[in-house]
């Protein structure tokens, strides 16, 4: 009687589900207590020794955690000791990368929130001097200018960028190498050069600064980002799908339009988002093309137009307390604007079907 069923008691009771691969509650609490103790110890070190400030605290905490980890793993084998050490280094590196970003974010919120009053979002600076109290004037004109220019730039670049992605991955024509080379070179163009280029062409030709000029400069900067991202995304489409489409008697352009592009809808939305993110905070090219303005401008060809980056830039140059506060609030509004734009974009066009 050979069988592969192991001898075990017959039982009708369904066992409690457990997760033996996860650390137990006890280990977890011990770890938390040890970490809190490390925090206090580091704080004590900062207070008692020459180390000072948040960076001193970070350094102290790092050393303390390393020592604690060593002590806690003294009895374990070499592999888990190595594991613990590498874990500490990886976590520290992540914190190190995370911290500056959090710090920027926090200071923009803390310093900008004071000026974030209703008037800031509906009024302009036409009859307000930068030094006036924060409950006067606003940046609505700058928000509108930024939105206007970025929208025009996106309207120009998204079709162009996606089409060049399609050219590079689907059509693979004779100019593939050239197009890829040009796109890569364009992504290295300093933003001020893009501004200068539009200044010497469009601004010179129309003999005035305008939102259209600003949008063109932003488009020059946005195009390589969108094109390269679109290319990378399109490369991910499995050839299976193209084959299936061809085997159904489809021509190439219908395959691209109806099978390949819809498959990577959310990826193309990412390309658009990255493109917008690339240009929405650009200041230098706008100084040469759209300049700035203190009142509402809705016509992209109607002369200088305000924008959030130039708004912040101008106020910082004035340098009084209220103007600097306004500048922080402008930065905060820029952050919020980006957040709102991206969330909407993801919600509207980014949902992949599963």
């Amino acid at each position: 009687m050979s069988t592969i069923i192991a001898p075990a008691e017959k039982t009708e009771v369904v066992p409690e589900p457990i997760t033996p691969w996860k650390p137990s509650q006890k280990t977890k609490s011990v770890s938390i207590i040890v970490f809190l103790a490390s925090l206090f110890l580091s704080a004590a070190i900062v207070l008692l020794t020459g180390l000072a400030g948040i960076d001193g605290f970070g350094l102290a905490l790092f050393c303390v955690v390393i020592v604690v980890t060593t002590v806690r793993n003294l009895r374990s084998n070499q592999k888990s000791r190595k594991d613990a050490f590498v874990g500490v280094f990886v976590a520290s590196a992540a914190m190190l990368a995370f911290f500056p970003w959090m710090s920027i974010f926090a200071s923009v919120i803390v310093k900008g929130v004071r000026g974030l009053q209703p008037n800031f979002l509906v009024e302009n600076m036409q009859f307000t001097t930068p030094d006036d109290e924060l409950n006067m004037g606003g940046a609505a004109h700058a928000v509108i200018g930024s939105m206007l220019m970025v929208s025009i730039a996106a309207a120009i670049t998204l079709p162009l960028g996606i089409l060049s992605g399609v050219y590079l991955t689907e059509i693979r024509g004779r100019l593939t190498f050239l197009v890829r080379f040009v796109v890569q070179s364009m992504s290295g163009v300093p933003s001020i050069v893009a501004g200068l280029f539009v200044y010497t062409t469009f601004v010179d030709y129309t003999s005035k600064f305008s939102g259209m000029a600003g949008a063109l400069a932003l488009a020059v900067l946005m195009l390589p980002t969108v094109a390269r991202t679109a290319e990378e995304v399109l490369k991910l489409v499995p050839d299976d799908l193209r084959s299936a489409s061809y085997a159904l008697g489809a021509r190439q352009w219908r395959t691209s339009l109806m099978v390949v592009l819809p498959t990577v809808r959310s990826g193309l939305m990412t390309a658009a988002i990255l493109g917008v993110a690339r240009v929405i905070g650009e200041t230098a090219p706008l100084l040469l093309t759209s300049l700035s303005n203190n009142s509402f401008v809705f016509n992209p060809l109607g002369g200088p137009i305000g924008s959030l980056p130039t708004y912040v830039f101008g106020l910082l140059q004035i340098g009084t307390e209220n103007s600097i506060n306004r500048a922080w609030t402008g930065s905060l509004v820029l952050l919020i604007l980006v957040l709102v734009l991206f969330t909407t974009a993801r919600y509207v066009g980014g949902k992949d079907k599963k």
């Binding site: 085997a247 159904l248 008697g249 099978v259």
Partner: protein
Amino acid sequence: MSQTVQTSVMSMSDGQSESPVVRGLETRNIHAWFGKHHVLKDISLKFPEKTVTGLIGPSGCGKSTFIRLLNRMHEFIPGAAMAGQVLHDGHDIYSPEVDAAAIRLKVGMVFQKPNPFPAMNIRENVLSGIKLAHLKVADHDSIVERCLTRAGLWKEVKDRLTATGGSLSGGQQQRLCIARSLAVEPNVLLMDEPCSALDPGSTLRIEETIKELAEKIAVVIVTHNMQQAARVSDYCAFFLTDGGPGYLVEADATKKLFTNPGDTRTADYVQGKFG
């Protein structure tokens, strides 16, 4: 009856000689190359309507290349070249005035891996061929129902036609792909190992589907599964390679090929002694 058809699918060394027009596909002295690499040598076969033909043979003997030659998918591979004729309803599909996309409409294909379009739901997947090829069809609903029924999938999905293809199991996805191929009404369906990624139950369902399809159209199926070839096909063609280009060892009625083959290598292969 069986005698006449048998001889008609037998390897035809005199492929250039006059013969009546075959409804379905016919190949005459087909060769294939990838670059300088000669992968397929002198294949002449007939795939008449209302038959199922199994292509068997070890990996690398050119079965897939051959089947892709039959609906002009071969030419998508860079460096691909060919020689010989493929006749669809008596017309050479490789003659210069022929539109490859139109040929692929009449000679459909099901791939090894199920590949429903991820951006479309089940209904849209079935109708994708019609939309992709710009066909004018009035009644979409009845096409969806008819094709899914023919592919043996209707009962399972009729209440969730708007779910995505990805939500189906592997076997259901493959049947969805078959339904998709049927929507453009081909009169030949090529299947390149359609069941190799599927469980026995789904395989059985697809084999039933194949038999039903063969009441109307010609089915060509590549398979590594001898039992499947025996179960599903009316005729079988055995391919082999000796390191060089793949060639046809013999082609005959499946029953004869499996019980009394004309070549000892065929006997060894179908009994599982090599390959």
